[in-house]
Amino acid sequence: MSSHVTGAEPQSSVPRRLLRALAGVVFVALLAAPLGMRHFSAEDDAGAVASASVALERYGFALEEVSQAAGIDFTHRPPELDAKLRAIMPVVAAYGASVAVGDFDRDGWQDLYVTTSAVDGRNALYRNAGDGRFEDVAARLGVADLNARDMGVSMGAVWGDYDNDGYEDLFVYKWGRPELLHNDGGRGFTRVSDGLGLPSWINANTAVWFDFDSDGWLDLFVGCFYPASVDLWHLPNTRVMPESFEYAQDGGRNYLLRNRGDGSFEEVGESMGFRTTRWTLAAAAADVDHDGDPDLFVANDFGVNELYVNESGRRFREVGRESGLARTPKSGMNASFGDAFNRGEWTLYVSNISEPGVLIHGNDLWVPTHEAGAAPDYRNIAGALGVELAGFAFGAQFGDLNNDGWLDLYVTNGYVSGETRDSYWYDYAMVTSGHRNIIADADNWPAMRGRSLSGYQQDRVWLNRGGHRFRDVTRAVGVANAEDGRAVAFVDLWNRGVLDAVVANQRGPLLVHRTTATPQHGWVEFELEGTRSNRSAIGAEVRLYAAGQVQLRQVEGGNGFAAQNQRRLHYGLGPAPAIDSVVVRWPSGVAQTVLAPAVNTLHTLTEPE
């Protein structure tokens, strides 16, 4: 920082004066360089509003927000926590809007379960009537009233058929008592939480169904934010904030519930290698090392993320640092796997905070550089691909919105949109730069007084341009959401062969974006049902070979942030739709090949016995 040199002035001479003048010109040019870069790199159409027909012609798709027309009227409400936190309540009560897609009644139409987080607030289960309308059947089926002072409030949910009876059951994770709700043949739900083996109170923000030991029964990972000892409605003191904003290790521990196959679960997290107590916000499972069993990525706020390699179901080994995924602490809020480059391998998108001039973590697009069977190794190319700077980013999903055969990206943004647009960032940055004794005590935090913290931020829709770069087309394709976005899920709501986007906003409305994709692009979808594998087929990998390329998808048990996409697998096929073959690798290890399946069709695949 010091400058130990200057030296005497040069001998005056014309060349020296010229050189000095030239240096001045270069200096000014360099000062102007960032402005020029900003200007000339602004090719994106994020802010340019286009008509649907123009968007369809230009990008191959357009989205229209249709929640009201679909009969969906749902607004998330945040929890009102202990009054000791009143001054900074919006920052603390900033989670809980979620969306999980599942066909709970097996009628072939995808349904939506969404959560609110106010005490006495009712979650909703929107049954898809198949005629474009949705009906909230949560109260009638017993999955609405899960938010109460003595049992905590909902943070999210995931569908998974844990007892292989053919109907998707529902796990609701909460800041409070977690709930497992058994699906009784699509006609109702029964609370079976007591068999979970979890503590009676945890502060969870993510859960993922996956069969880690490949025994044919779905297991459950539950990731926690606050420690289980914290009851945010009854605080003995105000020391509930993280001890650091990049190195915190005083969050909640995570849990791994092994499904015994008899309707009960055994908590094996610690013995299986989940021993950290970071502030987990998201998780997703995928077989990153191609050894046939699902590995787990865990996104942590206030610190480094974690990658757990599954060693044949016997234990998990954390390799975040070695793999390159977790060398630098950021603010992990999201975990989404997708084959963004049609290479038949998993790319990982992680959301972080990007607030200009304040905190630029940048989102990560991790691309594997390891060969099959080798130790995981990743490189972040989000900057080069143009998907790094989104905002205060939360949930994100990969999905082929225009059916061109390349996965696009939807990212939600915005932390707290206050009563005013005045920013709380100054106070936030002041406190979070301090020592842990200062940060950790909410009493030290200046009052928010209605101010915003990265509020009123736009969602982002990034179009994948052939795996070379992503283009921001948000406004141009009809997305105008500037609420505090949390979760996004992709689902073919109207069985048209296109992915619609459902967005859950914190303290805001649930938005349903109906997608119109160009009819010039073909598509195909697959619905999988396991026999030897878990019946939901969660973890099944399906590689589609067409036009000299491979597209990899998997059946998911929850990913993104507080979200779960449809289990049904969707593929765009581009302008010359013809499929060579489809190869399924079931979680049991069974391989199945389907030759030249028909396009523009939903296929049902059952695992060979």
Binding site: M1, P10, L30, V358, H361, G434
Partner: protein, 269 residues
Amino acid sequence: MRYDRRLTSPLLITLILIGAHWSFGMLRGYEAVALAVASTVATELALRRLLTGQSPQLVSAYISGISISILVRSPMLWPYALGAVLSVMSKYVLRAKGRHIWNPTNFGICALLFLAPFAVAPLSVQWGNNLWPMLVIWGVGLIAVGQAKRAHITLAYVAAFFIFALVRSQITGSSYAAEVAPITGPMYQLFALFMITDPKTTVSSTWGAVAVAVVIAFVEMLFRLAEVIYAPFYALFFVGPVALLIELKWRAGSSARHQESPPPLPVER
């Protein structure tokens, strides 16, 4: 072989960098460090030779490069190069009466924050969550500024910061702990120990330097009351050059009165 005391600062700051990254992964990566250092050194080599004809003094360039790589946070690489080049160039382009008037690193960081906030933020969080990184930085830093006989500047600034934090607390209603929080973080510690003590861009008299440190803290308070997040950098950006210009003018007047050549400033050795 005799030890060159000018190497103390680069050695210590390198030690801080390696220790912090090894312990906490605080850098964007070693490539950012390499790029920043290479940029400062290359710029110094070119400009020093072309504009003064003298041999480059690489210690300063190295320190600027390391400082940029510690204090700048960006997921991209180009800000490290741009900040580094601007830092060194400012020494040769922005001059008054034969000397540069901005602290090079401070200038580079402020330029990035002014012009490229979409890509850059300064270091703003604790390294780890223990006390020992803070103690290491203070220990190492005080050794360095003590050797350079600049400890009075650091101490004056820190004392003024604590007092003005109390004033801010009274005005804003925020807790005193919140107002003093920044100085417990590494960015402030590096700022107070290494940046405002730069011999080349601080006034030469002991009490003058103390006064300038207090003024920097005061202007920083004004920026903070205006909720400018990186108030210390901006305070130094504005106060530092003004103080130097005043000193230069005062010395010129003084030498004219005495009708003799001014003695060389210690900072221009």
